[in-house]
Symmetry: C2
Subunit: 759 residues, 2 copies
């Protein structure tokens, strides 16, 4: 029990070095889990574990039996129908992005819902086409289908729907890419790679989705203006598309442009109303649905297709088409793209799902999501759909209209089924530009994220940099490569953040046990000859030299230089002494020869390594006080430092490179008789150093102290003690002293004769 | 002054929160340098600065005037001659690797020495051909020269020296690549990109050079066995070469194999002798030189070329060839390769140079080295040499034979000049396999670095992983791409190291101000209801969720769950109270209705966000003690925690993602009435949080305390104080109490009536 005494911090205990503390308080023997233990746990078998794994692979088995029919079913039905209607429109719109005829968008929307119902762990996302993924698929389709196409007119491949051979080829590429994407996701999921989502920071996701929105915006331009723009491959595709659009801007179909602008305006206005009166409206106005019905009616009534030559949805064959086998050759050509699509699709789905899982507090399983999405895509691809994930807007509809579980998803599928098999033909006169406008209507929120940049700049420069670089990468390199580059850059910022630590010199404040940056406060106390140096970050290969430099700057000299100077001086002294040229007088030394010049050359020829060795004065009959005057012609810089305390409380790890570097500099300090203390580390740290053979008879494991104050007290005591001891011994042996050690730098060491002789 | 009292740590001071400390000790206003200030310093002009820059661009201007002719010249001459002889042999040998005729190796060795003499900052490295770089150049030569070659027989391009057109083409590619490499290095140097070398850790360099040695070993096989192996491009080139070698192993030229094995054996033996009697030998036995002379003589005397059909060095035209203009078309095809060559070349040269600069204590300038190497390569390329850096073995010779400055390099150049213009023809009968054997003789040291793996495994798993992965990358992907992948992987390990911090729960040990991991010691004291949680690494996007999970594990419950349960319970209580169904009795509550079931459904329909809001009981006439019994049917988990201390002394930074995450979890704790304290941070940390609007009226900036002990004392005092205060108020107002608060969870709050009513 600790008894608080008023508002006072009162402590009295022994000064602890790590060793002293360890002796007083024995550490419990604790078995730390090794890699092997983790593997064992991972590979162990039990009925319970098997059951858990089986359940985790089939999430429906846990949530469906607990389904509250009375309470949830109605909400799910309402939500399912609303979401289903949105899914129809989005399916049609996004199919255009994927460079396939609109009806395939309905297949792409339908099949994933069935699979995800059984395998998904999120209860609120609506799986299916996602504009960015559709675009990525579209780019691959354009590249591969046009390359191998029999038709030479490949530039307007997405619109030449008459060319059934090309269309067949496009579908084949799209489905193959989808299946391969699914396979990659499945494999990653089985290998439990779902954890990679932790590498997507908020800033990165924000910038990435903004860039995706810009990509979608640009991609829809051709439908709004009714231009034939070829699909370009990354990088720089966005600029190529823009160039193509503006180079043929005079060909714009005015009817399409006007229709889409009107639709866009109305959608924006109603979305604003939905937003503003969110609390008052029982259910958001389904403006997309209303506009679709109106637009279809108007287009049909006034025969827009033939009167204004607008492009319409066109033929909607009812029913499904038979499944296909993917083309192995295309697998090889597109594996890189599929990898990007797989990762982007998963990242988007997971980030949306995690928003809802946080909101409604249920667990998500990243790897299971990968498996579910993978199987969705494999299944969808086999039935001529294209790769999907989740669209933010559609999931928003599913959740906001009261969806409770994936039963809502199943009901959306029913709506899609009805459209596909029965009433799809009704949508035939709908303008494609209307679909494009409806897709754009949902981008406002994402594009508004530009405001984030300013906010991040004020908060954290590195995060701001991540945002900007991610945006640039995703725009310039395309989404797949851009995501990879962004994640790489983002990880690099973690290195940057630790690479240039703000090292500081600490001093005592308030004469108690508080140590703060010397520059920050006035009236600090720094014990004489003691430096307290704090490094506030891990030390590793990339910053060990920076650390060394900062340390040298802080103490004011390079220990290596001092060591060398001293060793050189020692050689000279030894030589002089041998030659008998050194006379020790009460006032210091007199060098009776001017033979020092010649010895200079000889010293230069010595291997310089010798000068880096510890100073060995054992063979000399006297001690050398390096801070006193030395014999004529021998100059060694004086240093006042006798103790150096390194505050390592924030040094969370050292690597092998930094350990070697640290040891070198510690050795150098020890060799010039500066005591080094390391404080604030935890026990693991010391153990690791011991394991790495960090300690020897120069750098000892007794240098660790619990806190700065412990080390400072230890130093003060030691200096006090040694001074008083030397005083007392001086007093005791005063009778033997025959010269006074005033400014002479040498002092005779104890010889065999029991007389301590001092000069 | 702090007075040490024996070996005692005695402190008495007030308990400090960060705010209290800040009030007592005013911080100095200190101008922190902004980016703008740094830029200003960087762009400012002065005569001194201009002079310094000029000097740094022409290092010779500083060291040559200080040249000590009498002392250094002799050493430099000896060293220069030895190094020059080695350079001749290595030049010939490495030219084979570069897929160009041997004599070009002499040019490649000669020209860099001239430039580096003027521009280099290292005094000991011997610039010129380096086997790994030569191989990289060779791979490009093979690819580009064979692709565009007029000859169809491209597979044995390196040996078909009769085909002068192909040879011309090869030289053109090699020189163009060299010039482009030099340009890249020059640009990087001018842009001051020399700092990138800090990203090469010791483990990485060790593994990379080992892999390079393996590459060299494999590349020399074809010369030793005298097989015609085509050059393959990365990745997987090494396996392709091995496959090619073993598929035609029966074509081995036995004479070449035997010669090279004998040479290899003798070289190894003598190198061992040199090593063992290093101290006794005045100068290492120049075994390579001796063997060359012998081998040349034997080959000439017995006419090996025609008798055994061995491949010899062949025609050595004396004199230099005229300079060439690089081919711009090749620039485009090879820019990626050139980038790798530039980086690898610089990395190797700098890492070797830094070994000597450390040894002899003189400064190196990374960017100036880049400029020097860049100009060396541009110059060399223009005169038909190929890209160079420094060979470890040759630099070793230059330093160990006493070289003091680059004057030695200049003298090596003279030796090369003599060979090129006069005595080169003497080398014509030398077998190429002898050159290969001599090149292999120097690889032992590098290959021995495999032993590093075991040592690193014991020291640091991550460093061991870096070694292994770098080796694999460099072998499989080739040196250029492999280096990039390794650096990327290495940076990733820095993220890994911080991503899964070993969070721990601390407790007091020895009843003083020492707090250690609770699991490590017995006899710890943990104040009741207080958790002390330590996170020993920075917190950022990749580990914020890990941190949250560990924190929840440590406290034993999820604060969000508790908050929701309490809010749900509160709704029920409020409803019951409204309906008048709640009777408060001395023993607790009696709920007179069983109408709770119906309310369940209603609650479910409520937006779940409401349940995450702070608990607002202001409108209730009583307080709720959540840890006491609540009315019938209302169950809320009890928690004993009232204070949570987060030890953030090793949290060196937070990013925006982690700040948001941290704030969320702190809010959740605050909302369930757990006081949170953060200790051990420095002032910058708090300032940054304030700047990021981290604080509001739930998470206040008064949560910061200087140390764990300060926070613990504060908590103990507060609890003590509040208990005693409530006791005293109870005592004072005892007369108003008419029921005793035994186990009832509700307690009437102070109403308008001055009677505190307790149930």
């Amino acid at each position: 029990m600790i008894e608080p005494i008023g508002n006072q911090y009162v402590v009295a205990r022994p000064v602890y070095s790590a060793n002293a503390f360890g002796e007083e308080h024995k550490k419990k023997l604790r078995h730390h889990k090794t890699l092997l233990d983790h593997l064992k746990v991972c590979c162990s078998c039990s009925t319970q574990k098997a059951k858990r794994i089986a359940l985790s692979l089939l999430p429906i088995a846990s949530w469906l039996p607990a389904y509250k029919v009375k309470e949830w079913l109605l909400s799910d039905i309402v939500s399912g129908i609303s979401t289903g209607l949105v899914a129809v429109l989005q399916g049609l719109a996004f199919a255009l992005l994927a460079n396939v005829p609109p009806r395939y968008g309905l297949y792409a929307a339908f099949f994933p819902l069935l699979i995800y119902f059984f395998l998904g762990t999120s209860r609120h996302i609506s799986v299916g086409p996602f504009p960015v993924l559709s675009m990525m698929v579209g780019a691959v389709v354009a590249r591969v289908a046009s390359e191998d196409s029999v038709s030479v007119d490949t530039s307007n491949s997405s619109l030449s729907s008459n060319d059934s051979l090309l269309e067949e080829r496009q579908i084949m590429v799209a489905t193959t890419v989808t299946v391969l994407t699914g396979l990659i996701q499945l494999v990653l999921g089985v290998l439990r790679f779902g954890f990679v989502v932790v590498y997507l920071s908020e800033s990165l996701i924000s910038a990435f989705t903004t860039a995706a929105a810009v990509h979608v915006l640009v991609s829809q331009l051709k439908f709004m203006l009714q231009l034939t723009v070829p699909s370009f491959t990354d990088p720089f595709s966005i600029f190529k598309v823009l160039q193509s659009v503006f180079s043929q801007i005079e060909k714009t179909n005015i009817a399409d442009l006007v229709t889409s602008l009107i639709i866009l305006f109305i959608v924006f206005v109603f979305k604003e109303i939905n937003q503003r009166y969110k609390t008052k409206l029982p259910v958001p106005i389904p403006i997309e649905l209303i506009m679709t019905v109106i637009a279809t009616g108007v287009s049909y009534g006034f025969d827009f297709e033939h009167r204004f030559n607008v492009s319409v949805v066109g033929e909607m064959r009812s029913g499904f088409e038979p499944p296909t086998t993917p083309d192995m050759q295309i697998f090889q050509d597109t594996i890189g793209d599929c990898f990007s699509i797989a990762i982007v699709g998963f990242s988007v789905a997971f980030s949306v799902a995690s928003v809802y899982s946080l909101k409604y507090d249920y667990p998500l399983d990243g790897s299971q999501e990968l498996i579910a999405l993978g199987l969705c895509n494999i299944f969808t691809g086999s039935f001529r759909g294209f790769a999907g994930s989740t669209a933010l807007s559609r999931s928003g509809v599913q959740e906001s209209t009261g969806g409770k579980t994936q039963v809502a998803g199943l009901l959306s599928a029913v709506i899609l089924l009805i459209v596909v098999v029965a009433i799809g033909f009704l949508l035939e006169p709908l303008q494609r530009s209307v679909l494009a406008a409806l897709a754009l209507g949902n981008l406002k929120g994402m594009l508004m994220q530009f405001a984030e940049v300013g906010r991040l700049w004020r908060k954290d420069k590195y995060d701001c940099l991540i945002w900007i670089m991610t945006f640039i990468f995703a725009i310039v390199l395309g989404l797949g490569l851009g995501l990879a580059a962004s994640v790489g850059f983002q990880l690099l910022t973690i290195v940057f953040r630790t690479q240039f630590p703000k090292c500081s010199t600490l001093a005592n404040i308030g004469r108690s046990n508080i140590y703060k940056n010397k520059k920050d406060y006035s009236d600090m106390y720094e014990p004489e000859g003691v430096k307290i140096f704090r490094c506030p970050s891990p030390i590793y290969f990339a910053n060990i030299n920076f650390f060394k430099q900062k340390l040298i700057d802080a103490v004011g000299f390079s220990p290596l230089r001092i060591l060398r100077k001293r060793n050189k001086a020692l050689k000279k002294i030894r030589k002089l002494q041998k030659q008998g040229l050194l006379q020790v007088t009460p006032k210091g030394f007199i060098c009776t020869a001017d033979g020092l010049k010649d010895s200079d050359e000889e010293l230069d020829n010595n291997h310089i390594e010798e000068l880096d060795q510890p100073i060995n004065t054992a063979d000399l009959p006297f001690q050398i006080d390096w801070n006193a005057d030395l014999p004529l012609n021998i100059a060694v810089p004086r240093i006042s430092l006798h103790s150096l305390i390194l505050d390592f409380s924030a040094v969370s790890f050292l690597d092998v490179s930094s350990m070697r570097g640290l040891k070198t500099i510690l050795q150098e300090f020890v060799r010039i008789q500066v005591d080094v203390y390391i404080v604030g580390t935890d026990d693991d740290f010391i153990e690791k150093l011991a394991r790495c053979e960090f300690f020897d008879n120069e750098v000892k494991d007794s240098i660790f102290f619990l806190t700065i104050h412990d080390a400072v007290l230890h130093i003060l005591m030691k200096k006090d003690y040694s001074t008083s001891k030397s005083y007392s011994s001086q007093e005791k042996e005063m009778k033997f002293d025959f010269t006074i050690n005033t400014n002479g730098g040498l002092r005779y060491r104890e010889c065999q004769v029991p007389v301590e002789t001092k000069f």
